[in-house]
Subunit: 492 residues, 2 copies
């Protein structure tokens, strides 16, 4: 089975698609650019969602749900935001089909059922939400509003890729309202740290925290904070963003509050989101030519037990031992599957579970049982070893922690090895061509230089890092003064 | 605050709207027929969803996610299903907006960005899912497929009501595929029982399980199973449906499997769903003129503690005691809130929590503390009593169970009191006018009679009950022979 996966070296892009499809995460659909998230991929998403949701609630947020549709007049209210999404949105214009008189059994749009005002399928929900907040906010006592929404959104992208860029995707979008600028900025920064915490500690994927240059900012934001991760091919991937929106949406939707001195002020806003795109990042960052490698903390199954039967007699004994081990692991909170179907052979199962990235495989055979041992295989390193059945549950629990850590450390080393400081334009181009990764370089702070570098190399400023030294220097491209190094990379 | 609620006797319909809006469950939105589910309402939905989701998983189902859009050609493939939903669907026809040359700052649909094929915003997902299953099913080994989806759907209803009938709503839709008719029927019946179990044991709302008459069947189903609940105004509400779809969708989408004898057969299907409509049922069934009454098992907060301060000194002591009680209740798995904001008075808080249906209120004052007691108020009966602080946590846990049961018993008594057997057309009309509720009557089994009764009385056959005696008789309307009584009612 694993032979069907294209290798990374042969075709990185095809390798990625193979993993997503053959690993059972997602499938193409009949709708252009929309994917089907298969049960295995959706379970992964549920695990990610549940962990994030808890982090949001622990930081005082609550969930709510706002309409899928945005009337055009609201959509266009915040001009920059509208401009940013107008070119790629799905638009509902009619509300009824009727029988097609020219084609038996077929339906056609009923021209008489045209909406008075078109509805945009939300590409993001600032407009519909701020139009609602207007009714909820009168006084400073109504603030802050700390709401998150789990939802589907649609952006009519022309070039799509499973998980990484799809016309419809699932995400969460936080939309908060505050009495002061400082409080809103603190919220935007807090959520950036929550995202970094989640991506690093659950997805085992190290990130660089930073802010976006003006040209990469979210449409309608005053400041966009982001976390950037590095993929195995040396390209960067934006894993999450948190926006300080200033009073832009409050002004567009006329949302004011009376402060404790009874003075009317516009409300301050943030929004922040991560999406199913994270699954694409996960796949690209950790997996190998045999299949997916999933961090134990979010893997749908953390352990799979494969029985190796020789005849009916050994079957009963193995089943009994497997059942006991399952119970022990489940009691310890481990997600475990017993793969005892009898129409595929153990070798096929091994390959299947490697493909699917199950962190730990336990093989349980008749001879093993006699010797009171099992064969444990860890997916990340593909190491196998024979381990005593005594204390096995505990051993596995510890191993899962070790694997989680090892996957992170490996990705961290890769990431750190692929941050290269360059001090000249020649060096910049050379590193980008030969090595890729993040290029730490001085930039003069102008959109003009940024644009020229992008045109010449396809590399963009991924972020202006929040952490690290702030040494001054000169721009690698223009030679003009620079206040600090920024991270360039080609990106997904 | 409670004075703002219209009473049931004055205007039942307005009473319902008041509860939804003032209880903080939902709000109107700028989009025709779409609502905003507010945090309090959404938390209620999360509690319901989590309980249901666990029941689905415990019966072997997994979640997945399918596209929001259905291409028109797929939508029309299953003719009856298409016909059922064609008249009320949102249709995406374009994928881009552009600047309106006639109006500065405004956007217009770009006529050049017209889709080749229109997309229907899913009103239900049989079509898109069965078009996908086609690629997943080859052999009997691929069956059964037991998938559920949590999603938003859109039905362009002309007359909408918060939760009960909205253009967009949230729901779950199970879509299963089976090798045999028997297995599919067993699945449809199993899910009916799961729904009944959930609605009765979590929502405290008794239901009648039955099957729909042909004219009330889901478009495209061979058999529709349903659970029907009774509201306080004597109208019925369909709380959930489970459909045996036969091979209709398999035939429409050409989904065949080779059985163990290598013979090609069409796949058998079910689908089943419940939606945010259940929240409407919950509100209408249990609440009173003071506000919502929520069953403890799904209430966002089960207990609220209200401190009654007299000066700073008592505040510290009360806070300390409240904090200890919170910890004790949380440890027992109780969802508890300490309402210690200092800008509203206790009386206002009492009314607010009554409005919101918090099952148990604990009032904690300085004098109470001296006497080592608190005042407990239960929302369902509005009884208050003074209870010792010793063992209070345990007392409250038991009280919550008692309240859950009491709410169910009350609704059950009401429901049973409002099932009336009638044996003549006069009696039928009289009971419907004077009393409402379920009318248990003989029906001749024809759509014609059903239609005539509906035209005359607005009462429809809610279901042909699965349980109870199957006595024969004569149709109350036509006098023709009848095999069993069915339940008529006016319905939401």
């Amino acid at each position: 089975m694993s032979k069907e996966i294209t290798s990374r070296s042969a075709d990185y892009s095809q390798w990625y698609n193979d993993l997503v499809i053959k690993g059972g995460l997602a499938d193409y659909s009949a709708v252009r650019g929309c994917m089907v998230i298969k049960p295995y991929g959706y379970t992964l998403w549920e695990n990610m969602r549940d962990a994030l949701d808890k982090m949001f609630k622990d930081t005082g947020h609550v969930n709510a749900y706002f309409p899928l549709f945005v009337p055009k007049s609201l959509f266009e209210a915040e001009e920059k935001n509208a401009e940013g999404f107008a070119k790629e949105c799905a638009i509902v214009t009619h509300y009824r089909l009727k029988a097609d008189p020219n084609k038996k059994g077929a339906l056609m749009v009923d021209p008489e059922a045209k909406l008075e005002e078109e509805l945009i399928v939300r590409p993001t929900s600032e407009a519909i939400i701020w139009n609602t907040y207007k009714n909820w906010i009168q006084s400073y006592r109504d603030l802050p509003i700390l709401i998150n929404q789990w939802a589907n959104v649609v952006r009519w992208e022309m070039r799509t890729r499973l998980f990484l860029r799809t016309a419809e995707f699932l995400w969460q979008e936080g939309h908060t309202a505050h009495a002061t600028s400082q409080e809103a900025i603190a919220e935007a920064e807090q959520m950036l740290h929550v995202y970094a915490d989640f991506v690093e500690n659950w997805m085992a994927l190290p990130v660089v925290k930073g802010i976006k240059s003006e040209s990469e900012r979210f449409a309608g934001a005053v400041e966009t904070y982001c976390i950037e991760a590095l993929m195995q091919d040396g390209k960067a991937l934006q894993a999450g963003t948190s926006h300080f929106l200033g009073q832009n949406f409050a002004k567009a939707f006329d949302v004011k509050f009376s402060d404790s001195q009874n003075k009317l002020e516009y409300v301050w806003a943030t929004s922040w989101g991560v999406s199913t795109r994270l699954i694409g990042a996960l796949v690209m960052a950790h997996s190998d030519d045999e299949g997916l490698i999933l961090p134990p903390k979010i893997a749908p199954f953390q352990v799979v037990i494969v029985p190796i039967y020789k005849g009916e007699e050994s079957k009963a004994a193995i089943d009994a031992k497997a059942t006991a081990l399952m119970a022990e692991l489940k009691a310890a909170g481990v997600r475990v599957k017993y793969d005892n179907n009898d129409h595929t052979r153990p070798g096929w199962k091994f390959a299947e579970h490697e493909m699917k990235g199950v962190p730990v495989r336990v093989a349980l055979g008749a001879r093993d049982l006699e010797n009171n041992v099992v064969e444990l295989a860890r997916r990340d390193t593909r190491e196998k070893k024979t381990v005593s059945l005594d204390g096995l549950g505990n051993h596995i629990v510890n191993l899962l922690t070790e694997i989680q850590q090892a996957i992170f450390e490996k990705a961290l080393k890769f990431r750190n090895d692929n941050i290269t400081k360059v001090n000249s334009w020649e060096e910049f181009q050379q590193v980008l061509n030969d090595k890729g990764g993040f290029i730490s370089a001085h930039w003069d702070g102008t959109a003009e230089t940024e644009e020229k570098i992008k045109d010449a190399t396809k590399a963009t400023i991924r972020c202006i890092p929040l952490e690290g030294d702030k040494e001054e220097g000169v721009c690698v491209f223009s030679g003009k003064p620079s206040k600090q190094r920024v991270f360039f990379a080609q990106a997904y």
